[in-house]
Symmetry: C2
Subunit: 671 residues, 2 copies
């Protein structure tokens, strides 16, 4: 059996196989099981510390999540892989459900389309014979307190009549109004609902479809522009990073990169120049609530990590497409629904990019310019969640900054609307197509170990005017900063008027230059918090969507801001609940949850595919270093950059004249 | 005489020479003049329209600003170049002063260092014989209501004792406490002040200097990292843009690029796919107020455009340093203090860059990925303002977005501080070095002609929850957007809680898909407004620094948010005053002023040179197009991108095992 490399390394293929074998052996009689997740149960921080210090290998455990197929019996198990035994196997309480999986969605789609009742509805559309109807199964959401079946709400579309034969024709441009409900225990359509198509809550029975113009995104169905010249990025001496095992090293940074079915990329033991910064950092959760109040679409609220999984949905990235330059790819290893290892090929790509100037200064006396360019290391994964895409990337720079960037792209989830109708909760983006307003609210989980200390504090700094005073502020220009320690776990907000900036401080390490505690600050753009009412399911489920910052005291197994099980969950089971313990968080082992996102009021420009909206959270040193850590980056030079001078097709009359007429003053006249 | 190309083209060399000649001829007896600015007096929009429609060339006029040298007599003139005559010549009222110029700063520095009183102070420092003292003349600011001399406050430094012989040694790491005041009429030091070095307002007489360690930014005085491999960007088929005369065309964009001494780059007649968007757009002003309340540094408040000039300070950009790839350079033409044309070589660079993915979608059924990369056109200028640098760029993308990016870098303006002392308005960034808190507040002036209409409106959209109601919002998830037209000129704010987004709308053009008025929205990050008290000079001078958005009705000669003359100005003379006219701005010829910036609480990491802080304002179409305008961008392909696969130095045991063990499940099992 291949051995793992480090206690934090992801499960190997053999280990995944062993997990499903152990679970199967746990049953007295053979059972058909549907696995929903198999991943490493990370050892405790103490055990990892002990391993690092003295090589003591902690027990190797796995976390396993599965259904008895065709039932609502859903289990969570811990297996001890060294001892080849199941240590615990607990049925998940009623009201909590497992996530979907890729094959399940394909299965639901196929069975729904084959359903006689659905076929009956399709007939009522009176479509031309070549027409193709498509089904997008959607995660159910939450509707009533007493419901406990795991279900899908299926949204129906057709391909453009003209492009029916094209498998990748954009069906989101042709939404239909009937919507089957699918039950995952019986694997059947249980009823057919209708989406309102007018300006109110009323629904209409299915009738003949109106044939509308296509709106396609694939290149062969568009006239492409022809005036874009290639731009080629090469690294003749290779990449500057080293990747060995899980460890990536680049420009004084070092970290472990692993991958699991739920979070996708996870970083551990992130350090700069040998000084630890973060023990663990990952995208923890995401909620996408929609604003159309009308059933059945009122339930739409995707939790793309908890309901499906960023690892499961990771794209197979292609050389020269998803990134440019000298690129390394990392495969991910997850379990399929049978509990077999499934390789997610090229799930993560690693490359460097140039990001403009990092710093420049010209001494105006000597005209000597010193400048360096900003090189970045990008560790990227792209996920497709049905209609939508997220491009997720950790970006490291040479000045000690670690950023997390999200690009939101893909296709709007659309619904039908009658011609001439408009509604205040959505935008008509194509003939007969409504794109409802929605929010994207993400949560980045940061488990710090600032400057090597397990105990850290979250503080915030504000800048405020000094009161006018003849003694202390006679001219009224004075202002000062104030730091406040966050003492209790909870949700906290930004305040741009006060320029509030949150920072993670070490407990006792100080900067020798100014005596400030060494720290990293969190640059996070303000977002509009969740708009749903406090007693709505939307609000209760999106545990993290109401504050830019949450801080909790570390506890094992508190990894996902919306709770372990988000699918159809109706309660607060995540960070809002954990932070309500009101733990003291000053100089403690803390976890900081950073929320950020987008209010998406769709525009026509977002259809048929959306230009990426870019959001970025940046973690930057604040008196962590004694000086600019990038002062030692080699200068930018033409020798290494090999740029090309373009002679502009410029009418030169005026400037060549200037060259003659002003020869004497071409350089600065010195006094 | 070389003729200009277009009524909006910048003055030619001959025209600049003609201007100074006409002014000189205006005086009965020869006068020694010091020119402060000569630039095009732009023709009215009506005249430009007439020219575009029927070729009628409007009168060619220049705006000229000059002193009678060695006096406080300061004039503003308009010359008619076609008629070769001065149309107006007005003395600028008392209290308003002209900007500095590069030669004046060098002159002030030299005269100050030669001043006997200053030499006396230097002696008191008891420096080693090799020591070198450096003088940074600073724009005076404003101190008292009755002062009317144009002055400099000089801040004094020395080079590191160890690096005295190095002309580019970083003197900002060694600030001195005496500070000469220089008068520009007599061109003399009039008195010597002292900067407090303790925690209070007290100043001390000059005594022996403490010799401290250097903190250098230039590469030869640092140990450089050696593990950064080259990254080369080439465009084998050349650049995708065309530059003819002042006109730049790229990826359906078209605009005129000109350059003047004050604003540097100015764009006119910006259109996409033949549809006009903006008549004129430029960086209009900038204010950098400091928070240390103690004289003499309480006055520090730089207006880098109005007090000096973004054109005057533009760097000579170097191939393969300031940008990469296939690069075109544009020279700027300004006037020197003698009224002669001065070529600012390579003042603007133009190049394309790759900016990651623009959009992507994978059909999960077919696994077909469609994706395009985001190519951008960057039009960049870099300015050095004494210690500090701004990297300024207009960035165009293929989806109709125009962004304005500012990178703030360079060296902190420092002052001395005694060992062991800390103050709440600054950070100790090096032994004996205090960097006071300061704000950078910039103003981007946008004169729109949305969708070809001269009359536009500023509107804002907010998203807000629907009240809970059994009829209209039974599940509490509903939310709606509301648009509000800004009816009156004034200053307006952001509101992230309501997700307030400002948009510039055409008057009557509607999007055929949804009937919305065609518009562009303004993405501007929130900033902390000016912190100085309302009755301070800081506040009165920084006319624009209190609101994210100002809107005014267009009037000729209202170009600069802080007013025409910012140097030592003590009154509100800019956009705050103009907007107080309370003009109706609905469906009018409006100007939108977008403010953005940084609260800069320095960190050790910002010294000896600051990693660029990046701020960006983006103008994005909102229902301006009927669909994503970038849907026709050719797909990203390895054929054109030619990326290289890096084989990770990875311990392959685990994954090669997975490949064998899981061969059967390497691709998705289909149901």
């Amino acid at each position: 059996m291949a051995t793992f490399q480090h206690p934090l390394s992801a499960l190997t293929a053999d280990e995944i196989l062993l997990c499903s074998k152990l679970i199967r052996a746990n049953f007295e009689s053979p059972q058909s099981l549907r696995f929903k997740g198999i991943s490493l149960q990370e050892p405790s921080k103490e055990d990892v510390s002990l391993f690092e210090l003295s090589g003591v290998v902690p027990a190797r455990r796995a976390w396993i999540n599965y259904y008895i197929a065709g039932t609502r019996f859903f289990y969570e198990s811990i297996a001890n892989l060294g001892e080849r035994g199941v240590e615990s196997n607990v049925m998940v309480p009623a009201g909590l459900h497992g996530p979907t999986d890729d094959n399940e969605i394909l299965q639901v789609e196929k069975l729904t389309l084959a359903d006689p009742g659905v076929q009956e509805e399709i007939k009522k559309l009176e479509l031309p014979p070549s027409a193709v109807v498509v089904c997008d199964p959607w995660i159910w959401g939450a509707d009533a307190a007493d419901e406990d079946e795991r279900k899908y709400q299926c949204y129906m579309y057709m391909r453009a009549a003209r492009n029916s034969g094209h498998l990748d024709s954009n069906h989101y441009a042709h939404p239909l109004s009937f919507s089957p409900v699918f039950d995952t225990v019986t694997m059947r359509v249980t009823r057919i609902e209708h989406v309102p198509t007018g300006g109110d809550f009323e629904t209409k029975p299915t009738g003949p479809a109106r044939i509308t113009e296509p709106n396609e995104y694939i290149p062969e169905l568009n006239d492409l522009r022809i005036d874009l010249k290639p731009l080629v990025i090469t690294q003749p001496q290779g990449a500057s990073f080293i990747h060995e095992g899980d460890v990536l090293k680049w420009q004084k940074w070092s970290f472990r990169l692993t991958f699991n079915y739920r979070e996708g990329m996870v970083l551990h033991q992130v350090s700069y120049d040998g000084r630890p910064l973060f023990y663990r950092i990952s995208l923890s959760d995401m909620s996408v609530p929609y604003g159309d109040p009308r059933p059945p679409v009122h339930k739409k609220q995707a939790f793309d990590l908890g309901d499906t999984g960023a690892g499961i949905m990771a794209n197979n990235l292609k050389l020269g497409c998803d990134c440019l330059g000298a690129i390394a790819y990392v495969d991910g290893l997850i379990a399929d629904e049978e509990g077999r290892p499934l390789k997610k090929q090229n799930a993560v790509c690693i490359h460097e990019q140039d990001a403009g100037l990092l710093w420049k200064h010209t001494n105006y006396r000597t005209q000597r310019a010193a400048l360096v360019r900003k090189r970045e290391l990008v560790v990227q994964s792209i996920i497709t969640v049905s209609n939508y895409e997220y491009i997720l990337a950790f970006i490291f720079d040479q000045a000690g900054e670690l950023a997390y960037e999200v690009r939101a792209t893909g296709i709007l989830s659309t619904q039908p609307i009658d011609p001439g109708v408009s509604v205040p909760w959505g935008t008509v983006v194509h003939d007969g197509v409504l794109a409802a307003y929605h929010q994207h609210i993400l949560s980045l989980r940061i488990d710090p170990e600032m400057d090597g200390e397990h105990r850290n504090s979250l503080v915030y700094e504000e800048t405020a005017p000094m009161p006018l005073s003849p003694e202390t502020n006679p001219h009224g220009n004075g202002y000062v900063s104030r730091r406040q320690v966050v003492k209790t776990s909870g949700g906290y907000d930004l305040n741009s008027k006060q320029n509030r900036v949150y920072m993670i401080e070490s407990s006792s390490k100080v900067n020798p230059v100014n005596g400030q505690k060494t720290a990293y600050k969190i640059h996070v753009p303000a977002f509009q918090p969740l708009l749903a009412q406090d007693d709505s399911f939307h609000y209760k489920r999106a545990d993290f969507a109401d504050h830019s910052i949450y801080v909790t005291r570390f506890r094992e197994n508190e990894l996902f801001a919306g709770g372990q099980y988000t699918n159809q969950n109706k309660q607060t089971t995540g960070v809002r609940k954990w932070s309500a313990r009101k733990d003291s968080v000053q100089d403690e082992d803390i976890v900081v949850w950073v929320q950020f996102g987008l209010q998406h009021v769709p525009r026509c420009e977002d259809f048929p595919v959306m230009p990426a909206e870019i959001i970025k959270v940046a973690l930057k040193p604040v008196n962590f270093f004694t000086r600019n850590p990038a002062v030692d980056v080699p200068p930018s030079s033409q020798e290494s950059n090999q740029s090309t001078l373009i002679r502009a097709r410029r009418m030169q009359a005026e400037l060549s004249h200037a060259r003659v007429g002003a020869e004497a003053v071409m350089s600065w006249t010195r006094f």
